[in-house]
Structure formats: structure tokens, C-alpha cells
């Protein structure tokens, strides 16, 4: 589907106008209408429709705590912090972009230089009480270190549980079992990213 199709504003809408009769005024017409409606059997159509649905037993209820609907990979729920697959180090390089771009001001991080003069993140918290789940942090992260996960059940007894680094960082044993899946959703590079790369125009 090309873009031109969407730019065309001269679309003919296929509206179908249903003729609605004017309400009767004369007493005889009113009487006729009442009589027609009485014997037309529309009420029985209604009865039949609901009975049919009962017999078909095509139930749409999702019994929520026991059953859950799948959510899209682009869903923006509680964040995750990822580790590097080979070394198990944190991906986060402490650049602070997420903290800077966060429009709800809910990310706080502390960093220091470690013995190799690399940035190390000492503290990382996201105040989920303030977070509006806009996804800017995941989008701006250059390392795909912070992403949005699919955990949307956030009930807790204490506000302090929302949310410390340890809760969202991939556990090491989890990583070793190869369960950290590469993130296809919000902020991730698209599958065809390589094709879309263009050379920086340097002509001017």
C-alpha cells in the first residue's frame, strides 16, 4: 500500500441512508402503526436472538487472574534492565539520557567511574508512581539497556516497591539459562534496520 492512497482526500463514502418514516399524526395511522408493531413479531425475534446465543454458548469471558490475554510486544508496561548476553555485565553505560528525557522526572541514577575508568551505575530507580509509561527512556537508550516489559500487574503493599533496580534487572541465573529474549518492542531497532541506514549526506 503506497502513501498516495492515504493522501487522497477525495474519497467517496459508501454511506447507506436508511429511510425513516415520519411518526404518524392522525389517530387512525397511530392505531395502524401500533397494530403493525404488535403483530410483526419483532419481540419474538429478540427472544430468538438471545436464546440462540445461549444455546451456541460462545462465551467471550476471560477469567482474568486465571486466564490472560496476550499483549503486544510493543506494550509499554514495567521496565526491564537488560544485561549483555556474553559477559553478563549490565548494558547500561550510565549515559543518563533516560534520566534527562524522562518527562515525569521519575528516573534517578547515580554513577561513578570504576577501576577501569568505565561508567558504572550504582543506583537506578524508577518511581512507577510517577511514571506515565511514555516509553521515551526506552526509545532514547542507545544500548537497548532499558526496555518496556509486559508486566502490567503492579499491586503492592508499599510504595517503596515501585521500583528498584534489582526488581527490573535481568537476574544473572536467568541470563545464563538464555531466557533474556532480545526485545522486539518499543525502542528496539526494527528488523530491517540495516536496509534503512543511509549515508549521512555530506554534500553541503
Amino acid at each position: 500500500m503506497s502513501l498516495e492512497q492515504f493522501k487522497d482526500r477525495n474519497v467517496t463514502q459508501n454511506y447507506k441512508f436508511i429511510p425513516v418514516d415520519k411518526p404518524p399524526v392522525a389517530p387512525l395511522d397511530k392505531f395502524k402503526q401500533a397494530l403493525k408493531r404488535t403483530f410483526k413479531g419483532e419481540l419474538f425475534v429478540g427472544l430468538w436472538v438471545v436464546f440462540r446465543e445461549m444455546v451456541r454458548f460462545n462465551i467471550h469471558t476471560v477469567q482474568y487472574p486465571k486466564e490472560k490475554l496476550p499483549i503486544s510486544p510493543r506494550y509499554r508496561a514495567v521496565h526491564k534492565l537488560y544485561r549483555l548476553l556474553e559477559s553478563g555485565y549490565e548494558r547500561c553505560i550510565g549515559c543518563g539520557l533516560c534520566e534527562k528525557i524522562c518527562i515525569a522526572n521519575c528516573i534517578r541514577m547515580d554513577t561513578r567511574y570504576d577501576e577501569n575508568q568505565r561508567k558504572e551505575v550504582t543506583e537506578y530507580t524508577i518511581n512507577l508512581g510517577r511514571c506515565i509509561f511514555c516509553g521515551y527512556c526506552a526509545e532514547v537508550c542507545p544500548e537497548l539497556a532499558i526496555v518496556h516489559g509486559g508486566r502490567y500487574e503492579n499491586a503492592s503493599e508499599q510504595r517503596a516497591h515501585f521500583v528498584l533496580r534489582d526488581d527490573i534487572l535481568t537476574p544473572l541465573d536467568f541470563l545464563k539459562e538464555g531466557k533474556q529474549e532480545e526485545f522486539p518492542g518499543f525502542g528496539a531497532v526494527s528488523p530491517n534496520a540495516d536496509e534503512r541506514i543511509k549515508k549521512t549526506p555530506l554534500a553541503y
Partner: protein
């Protein structure tokens, strides 16, 4: 039968009827929620007990343990007694309804009717009609505008439809020549062909419509129409007092179903190979299901349409029906 035997058997019958029918009224709420849910592609109560069967129990515990709130400006004694009237009249009406054919147990012949009044129909309808005092008093005593509106609607609705009920069963009563429900039942003892519904179809439809209105069921569910008047007369009620209104309502539904099946659908006569006791249970269950079915299918009507229907359509029809029946009986 000696006096003592009579007193004891009557008390036993009263206790059995009270127990079974208050349980049935509770179970009716469960059935209603399930049937409505299935018709709307939902599951209904599922969590309490297997398939939500214990939901009634949970609701009962909740209603019993809730705080009994009496609003500040309400008229306290009337506010407190109104729901009792609702439940009591519903059960009193059952006193003159023959529930089953006679049967023998431990060598004693049991007449499953608490009191065989010879004006049974009049008694049942009269007591059910006096049940209108429950919503009326409740709405007027609860110092609430919605309650007052609900009470006003109760009066217009129940009084109007009482007329239709009376007139519609007039024609069958003229054919039978007795007001006793047992006589009416025995009149139709010759199989399906003898059912009064075949000779009086108009009366049957009118009686059903009026029954819906009197038991405050959906097409005429205006007394507590949430979208318009919050909860009508029951707005200020909570806990068991609120629950009593609904026990009354569901008992009334069952009574109506019994009346319709005894007067029009052959009552508890044997139906082919089906014994009479089972036959009437089937009929009553179907009519009860019909109450729920219409609730899922049909919309409410407006109060003015309600009055229009009653006085301009149903009442003339009922009168014409009575006249024609009279003419036919005379010839």
C-alpha cells in the same frame, strides 16, 4: 382430622414452604445471573464454589452482616417495616396456592396447600396486591427524591395492572365457575387439550403481561430503573432490608408462575407419562425462565408507554375478552 393434627400439619407446611421458597428465591437470583450471562455471552458468577453455585450463600452472608443503615430524615419505624411487608405478603400469597397434587408420605395424605380457601384466586391476588405497600411505604419513608419517584411509579404501575390481572382471569373463572385454585386445576384434568390457554389465549397473554408488571420485571421494570431513578424505592436500603425486597420479588415471580401454570397451563394434572408433580415443576420453571429470558431480550418501556399500554390496550382487550366469553357461555 383432629384439631391438633390440623395445627401441626399446617405449621409443618408453613415451615416447609417458607424454607423452600426463601431458598428458591435466593437460588433464583443465581439462575437469573447465569441465564442473563449466557444470553449475553458471559459466564456469570464463577468463583464462589463450583460454577459459582455458592454465590447465593456469599451474597447472603454479605447481606446479613452489613450495617443496617437508617437515613437521618427518614421515618424510622415505617422505613424499617416496609421490606418486611414486601417479603411477608409474598409468602402469605403462597398460602392459598396448591403447589403439588396430593401425595402420601408415611401413610398420611398430604394436601400441599397451606389453606384451601374457596376464593383462592382472590386471596392470592389480593395479598400480592397489598404487597404494593412495601415499595410505596419504603419510598415515601426514606426521605429521598428517587425513593419518592419510585414509590409514585409503584402506585401507578401496580394499581393499573392489578385491574388487568383481575379482568384477564375473569374469563377463565367464568368458564370454571369457581374461585378455588384446586377447582380450576381439576377443570383441566383431561390432558393438554383441556388447558384453558387454548380456549383463552388472549386472557393468558394479558395475564402474563400484567404479571410482569406486578412482579416488577423487565419490560415494566420502572420502579427501580437504574438509569432514571437510581434504584427507585430501594435507593436508601442496604443489607438485609434491601435483600428482603428481593426475596419478596423473586417469591412473587414464583407465585405468578404457579398461578399462570395452574390457571392456564393445566396445573398439576398428569401430562401424558409425566406425573403431575413434575409437570407443574416443569411449567413453573419454564415460566420462571421466561421471566429471565425477556429480561435479556427486551428493553424497558417509558412510564407513559406503560400507562398507555395498560389503559388503552390491555384493559379494552380484557373487557372485550370477558364480553365474548360471556356471550359464548350464554349460547
Amino acid at each position: 382430622m383432629t384439631m391438633t393434627e390440623f395445627v401441626i400439619s399446617t405449621i409443618v407446611k408453613i415451615l416447609v414452604v417458607l424454607g423452600i421458597f426463601s431458598a428458591l428465591a435466593g437460588f433464583g437470583t443465581y439462575l437469573e445471573r447465569k441465564v442473563l450471562a449466557f444470553m449475553q455471552r458471559r459466564l456469570g458468577p464463577m468463583h464462589v464454589g463450583p460454577y459459582g453455585l455458592l454465590q447465593v450463600l456469599a451474597d447472603g452472608i454479605k447481606l446479613f452482616t452489613k450495617e443496617d443503615i437508617v437515613p437521618q430524615n427518614s421515618i424510622r419505624p415505617i422505613f424499617m417495616i416496609a421490606p418486611v411487608i414486601g417479603a411477608a405478603t409474598a409468602f402469605i400469597a403462597l398460602a392459598a396456592v396448591p403447589l403439588f397434587p396430593e401425595f402420601e408420605i408415611f401413610g398420611i395424605t398430604v394436601h400441599p396447600i397451606i389453606s384451601d380457601v374457596n376464593v383462592g384466586v382472590l386471596f392470592v391476588l389480593g395479598v400480592m396486591a397489598s404487597g404494593l405497600y412495601a415499595p410505596l411505604l419504603a419510598g415515601m419513608a426514606s426521605a429521598n427524591k428517587w425513593g419518592l419517584l419510585g414509590a409514585a411509579r409503584t402506585v401507578i404501575q401496580l394499581l393499573s395492572y392489578e385491574v388487568v390481572t383481575g379482568l384477564s382471569i375473569m374469563a377463565p373463572l367464568m368458564m370454571v365457575g369457581s374461585l378455588s385454585l384446586i377447582d380450576i386445576n381439576n377443570y383441566q384434568s383431561g390432558g393438554i387439550g383441556d388447558w384453558i390457554v387454548w380456549s383463552q389465549p388472549v386472557a393468558f397473554v394479558l395475564f402474563l403481561i400484567a404479571g410482569f408488571a406486578e412482579t416488577n420485571r423487565t419490560p415494566f421494570d420502572l420502579l427501580e430503573h437504574e438509569a432514571e431513578i437510581v434504584s427507585g424505592y430501594a435507593t436508601e436500603y442496604s443489607g438485609m432490608r434491601w435483600g428482603m425486597f428481593f426475596i419478596g420479588e423473586y417469591t412473587n415471580m414464583i407465585t405468578m408462575a404457579f398461578l399462570a401454570s395452574i390457571i392456564f397451563l393445566g396445573g398439576f394434572n398428569d401430562l401424558g407419562f409425566i406425573p403431575g408433580g413434575l409437570a407443574i415443576v416443569l411449567k413453573v420453571s419454564f415460566l420462571f425462565f421466561f421471566f429471565l429470558w425477556t429480561r435479556a431480550a427486551w428493553p424497558h418501556i417509558r412510564p407513559d408507554q406503560l400507562m398507555w399500554l395498560c389503559w388503552k390496550v390491555l384493559l379494552p382487550l380484557a373487557v372485550i375478552n370477558v364480553v365474548i366469553t360471556g356471550l359464548v357461555l350464554m349460547i
